[in-house]
């Protein structure tokens, strides 16, 4: 597996897109922190990178990469290696490269300019989102052999999590405004990894406001250590379940 991982890593490096992605992220975050007069505004720009750009790049790059390595996979399958090994190596290789890109691009300026608590939460969120969206890409790849369709599914899923989901939640808010929906909302937010990450960061950035209305429920749930554990467990499930599902399908797939 280490061997396959090495091939995948070298291949991704040769591809240069991940390097370009690292530089882009670095440019964005450095300029965000140095152009704005206060670090809080820079953080907001970085927040948007974490919540929108990172998932989009992860899901697109991973989907296309998996489709392109179809021949490589077929070649490996003819060798005496376990199928699951190939799929896992591919997943780990892609995740690692995207996480590294994020850490170098966003992580360094974050640690320099932002306070440590916020920076660490943001780092964790960005890394998890990278891995989660690679897993989602794997799932959409395995469902269809058609490359265009696969990429389409990936983009739609990204659109859903990044934009539509919030719209739906907002709509539900208005529809059920007369009911005590706070607890339901906490439950609902678990259904989008981007939302989960956003709330974790929100509790750091807008703590004064969050201590207000929403205080009792949200701060109690997400703010204490148990809430953090639950949130990160949920995020872990968000990459484990899609990946394991795709792994099961891959094992039985007729290449």
């Amino acid at each position: 597996m280490i061997r396959i991982l090495k091939y995948v890593a070298i291949d991704i490096l040769k591809n240069k897109i991940v390097i370009a992605y690292t530089i882009m992220l670095a440019l964005f975050s450095w300029s965000a922190f140095s152009l704005e007069d206060n670090a809080a505004k820079g953080l907001l720009t970085v927040l948007n990178i974490v919540l929108l750009t990172v998932p989009l790049v992860s899901v697109l790059f991973a989907t296309i990469y998996v489709y392109n390595s179809n021949e490589f996979i077929e070649l490996l399958v003819s060798h005496p290696v376990k199928r699951s090994m190939i799929w896992k190596a591919l997943f780990i290789g892609l995740s690692l490269s995207l996480v590294t890109a994020y850490l170098i691009g966003v992580g360094i300026p974050l640690l320099i300019f932002a306070d440590w608590g916020t920076a660490l939460i943001m780092l964790a969120a960005g890394m998890l989102l990278s891995v989660i969206f690679v897993a989602i890409a794997f799932l959409s790849c395995i469902f269809t052999r058609d490359k265009a369709k696969g990429i389409g599914i990936s983009i739609l899923l990204w659109l859903y999590f990044a934009l539509l989901f919030d719209g739906i939640v907002l709509f539900l808010f208005f529809q059920f405004a007369d009911y005590p929906i706070e607890k339901a909302v906490v439950f609902l937010s678990a259904w989008s990894p981007i939302d989960l990450c956003r709330i974790l960061i929100l509790l750091r950035l807008d703590v004064s406001a969050m201590m207000g209305y929403t205080g009792a429920i949200f701060k109690n749930f997400f703010g204490n250590s148990l809430g953090l554990v639950v949130s990160f467990t949920l995020l872990a499930l968000w990459f484990l379940i899609p990946f394991l599902w795709s792994l099961r399908k891959f094992k039985k797939k007729d290449l």
């Binding site: 206060n38 929108l52 919030d166 808010f173 706070e182 703590v207 004064s208 969050m210 207000g212 205080g215």
Partner: protein
């Protein structure tokens, strides 16, 4: 104009006090209380003292129940003697004019909701001076009723009760006039400073932190000045109600967190002037409810959840030349009617330009965001804050206002923050 009166009073008071202290010391006998002194108990010394005497209490623990001071005396502690209330008694009851109480430690006064026991209680007196005392674990700390020209200065007041109903107020003033509350530190009481029907008074350089309910709480207390006080992390912040003509200068309100906690809650206040105050990391900086003709200028609102919430039942308030920095929401309201005036404030969210370089933005600033209106109607929606969808909605609302009140506007936003 409003500032003039308390200052004038202060001067008059200073003159009076210096006159009286001189008068007292010139004729007075000194009586010493303590183990090695003629008077073993404070009670005996008080009984023997003639008006104008000075009673020195030396170091020791005195458990003498309730002590009543009914003549003009100076009572001065040497090396912080401790007067113990044993959780049963009101410790000092002052029922005379021209009394000085200085340098004592008073602790564990009685708890009673029937007659509001306090460590030091002043009954219908004038020119009483309470200075440099330490009050620990009392029910009420210093309690003034029907008193005038009293000074409460540099006292340290701390209580450790856990529940509001077990606790009294640090400095409690009722139906009094021309008081000076200066340089006191108050922790852990129900309300730090409580005023009801107190007029023409000055509250200066006090610190009220971690009180169970309010740091400062006043009602029907007209024409007072609050200067350079510091209120931090009180259970519900500061709440002031039903009062007119109050001046608040250079006060700081920090980290009052919670659903019903406010940096300052103005309920039915009118004709007030606020300047140089700082509101930092509160859930709500200032909450205006039914308040009219208040001028707020040169204040700073930093990193609050809501910088200012102005209910639609407020009229003719002026909000000018303030800094709004890093607040989650700068200003919100609960209706569409706006009868208040915003001008020349600095808003860190302002995205306009300044072509003629006069440091005033050329495009009006609408401090009300769509999302703040949504949250006002539907509080849990706060959880969606900073999501891309919400940012989009906000942007489109900024370009074409439909839900937010259009006349809620700062026509002359400042391009650069004021140095405050």
């Amino acid at each position: 104009m409003m500032k003039g009166k308390p200052l004038y009073n202060l001067w008059i008071l200073c003159l009076w006090c210096s006159f009286f202290t001189k008068a007292i010391t010139s004729q007075a006998a000194a009586r010493f209380v303590g183990e090695q002194h003629p008077y073993k108990t404070i009670r005996a010394a008080l009984a023997a003292a003639l008006p104008g005497d000075t009673v020195y209490i030396t170091k020791g623990l005195y458990k003498e129940g309730n002590l009543i001071i009914d003549k003009p005396l100076a009572i001065i502690g040497r090396d912080q003697p401790i007067l113990e209330g044993e959780l049963k008694h009101e410790i000092l009851s002052i029922k005379a004019n021209h009394v000085l109480v200085k340098g004592l430690t008073l602790q564990n006064c009685g708890r009673s909701v029937m007659n509001d026991q306090a460590a030091i209680k002043i009954y219908e007196s004038r020119n009483v001076h309470i200075e440099g005392n330490t009050l620990l674990n009392n029910f009420f700390g210093i309690y003034l009723q029907y008193s005038k020209h009293c000074i409460v200065k540099n006292n340290f007041i701390k209580a450790t009760q856990k529940k509001e109903y077990q606790s009294g107020n640090g400095i409690h003033c009722w139906k009094s006039d021309t008081l000076q509350i200066v340089g006191n530190k108050i922790y852990g009481h129900r309300d730090g400073i409580y005023f009801e029907f107190v007029t023409h008074s000055i509250i200066w350089r006090n610190i009220a932190n971690y009180n169970l309910r309010y740091g400062l709480h006043f009602m029907f207390s007209h024409e007072n000045a609050y200067i350079s006080n510091y209120f931090k992390a009180n259970g519900a912040g500061v709440a002031v109600m039903f009062t007119k003509k109050v001046v608040m200068l250079n006060n700081t309100f920090v980290e009052n967190w919670g659903d019903a906690a406010y940096g300052v809650l103005f309920k039915e206040l009118s004709d007030c002037y606020l300047s140089g105050n700082k509101f930092i990391r509160n859930t709500t900086g200032i909450f205006f409810d039914g308040s009219n003709r208040i001028t707020a200028e040169n204040n700073e609102f930093i990193a609050n959840g809501w910088g200012m919430r102005m209910q639609a039942n407020c009229m003719d308030n002026k909000v000018m030349r303030n800094n709004f920095k890093g607040n989650t929401f700068d200003v919100t309201t609960n209706g569409t009617l706006t009868l208040n005036h915003f001008s020349e404030n600095y808003w860190d969210r302002y995205e306009g330009y300044d072509l003629n370089k006069d440091k005033i933005g050329d495009v009006p600033y609408h401090p009300l965001s769509l999302f703040s209106v949504i949250v006002e109607k539907n509080p849990p929606a706060m959880l969606l804050y900073r999501s891309f969808m919400v940012t989009l909605l906000d942007k489109s609302e900024k370009i074409m206002p439909s839900l937010t009140a259009e006349n809620f506007v700062d026509n002359k936003p400042s391009m650069i923050p004021y140095k405050l």
